[in-house]
Amino acid sequence: MAETKTKKKSMPKKDQLSLHGVSPELAIDMMGDMLLYRRFEEKAEEAYAIGKIGGFCHVHIGQEGAAAGSIKPLREDDYVISAYREHTQAIAKGVHPNAVMAELFGRVDGASGGRGGSMHVYDKDCRFMGGHGIVGGQVPLATGIGWKIKYKDEDTVVIVYMGDAAVNQGGFHEALNMAAVWELPAIYVVENNGYGMGTAFSRVSKTDMSAKPVPHGVPASHVNGQDVLATYAHFRELIAEVRGGGGPRFVDLQTYRFRGHSMSDPVSGTYRPTEEVERNTAEEDPISILRDRLIAGGHLDQDDLEEMDKEARQIAQDAVDFADASPFPEPSTLYDNVWAEINEHGRLFFDGRERP
């Protein structure tokens, strides 16, 4: 859990006070975002522990700066598509926390009507194009969304998130190659937390992350995702370039996962040292890093912070209450939305449902 109290020993040095050209108001706004993401995911953990959430559930704790900093500079009509650790990205793109939590609970008011669950949050109106469960499977989809933007001469962009393991999938390389050839407005973001489930990236790649897009002619950059302001500044510039017709970009968004791969996985596990997790959790918490800066800069005091955290906790609690109150999907809707078009002739279901 993020400490909202300032520790005496971690008074920031002067260079850490930089707001990267971000206004204090916006920085405070993103503080609120990150607190909400943290409290939301903590509530998801609690709900999972008591069986309110089932299946696979991957929380974003530790990676909040990556979501807040990279999505904030987008416009409402820009697209985001992601993998299966996507709850907070959905919220960042405008999906209501209630709808995300209700989806985790498998309820009818969930963003995907309870059909998708934790890994498949969708909201067409927010242009949040899903959580996707096959590693790297969403990367060519993003290229296709970029294709549509260019086909329709729109000035929007698409950001696609993937974990570091996805860059070893063939589809990643095929998708970047095509995006480069056709100069599509797509930003390929690796949320690089160092581990593909339990396998350290360095064990499965001879080359560095920054080398991955290079053969395809897609410019690479990297940014510290634990520094939400640096992330914001980086993406603001990148998004403007891509929107201006600059073609695709690749970002190594360096971050760290404070929890296990999924809820069924211990925090440190057998694949990473406990000290590494403890050190990162203590020193690389995106919420603490921003808190220290805002307090040191005099933009926020302890009372303000407590108030913001209280508000975040309330929204997260409201989301849980909303989800819990939402009904399970009606059994009669089991077969809904398999087909967008039920043809006038012929059978489409083969389990006896349409038998005369």
Binding site: G137, L141, A142, G144, N337, V338, L348
Partner: protein, 326 residues
Amino acid sequence: MAVITYREALNEALREEMERDPDVFLMGEDVAEYDGAYKISKGLLEEFGDKRVVDSPISELGFTGLCVGASMAGLRPVVEFMTFNFAFLAIDQVINNATKMYYMSDGQFPMPIVFRGPTGAALQLSAQHSQACETYYSHAPGCKVVTPATPADAKGLLKASIRDNDPVAFMEGETLYNFMGEVPEDDDYVIPLGVADLKNEGSDVSIITHGKMVHVALQAAAKLDKDNIGADVLDLRTIRPLDMDAILKTVKKTNRVVYLEEGWPYAGTGAQIVSMIQEEAFDHLDAPILRVTQADIPMPYAKNLEILAKPSADRVIEACNKVLYR
């Protein structure tokens, strides 16, 4: 009625649908400057430009995924596979993304997209270029499967497939492309999905089939006719949706059935249809239903072995005689 080839019929369908809807585009390997590996897209680049007729890299997973994403975002892509044998590289994008997106998103993202190309064997292309692939697609809820046998069906069904709001696997045949047939000159000739077509009428036995096997069935029916055996040849035309009414009608008429398909027997289309017939028309059967399929082996190259492996009119006749206890 104009007499044109199956290839020309597909070309006309693509041209008409691209004229009709600016959101329709064609992407695949060599579809533009080369005019298509089998010339299905001949002349379309010139007419519609390189934004709508697009040469992809040889990246089946990648360009299929791109088109699935474009469909999700509102376009109506037509993906050409040089053959469905190459589409195994892309089947994750078809099954996991295209066919499930509408359901997973609770109906937020309809996925209008056509995956088309030849399936099954041609002549001596051996194991990796000869597989009939329809059951991989018909297995998945969310995917429609269309297998036209004639130029008229090719045109009318491709137009319907492009207009359909669900993913459609549209399966052609290399050995069908030069096949000539009458096609109505109506510029809006659309055949609804889910309607089978009785391609030959007889009252003694029903040969139920789809795709290029329709022609094998018709050869068998012509030979049987000389023996005074009348065969219904029911061309399903679409595997999903499936015209079960037409199947039950012919079963109830002849009481004897042979299912003919180009693919392998295990969990083939015939296995599904035989199961449904026994469930729904058991009392109308006078003999067990037999299936004629490809031999249960990878396709061999040697000419004599390939002939042995493929379903033939003679094997269909043999099966018909068996169900007639002759």
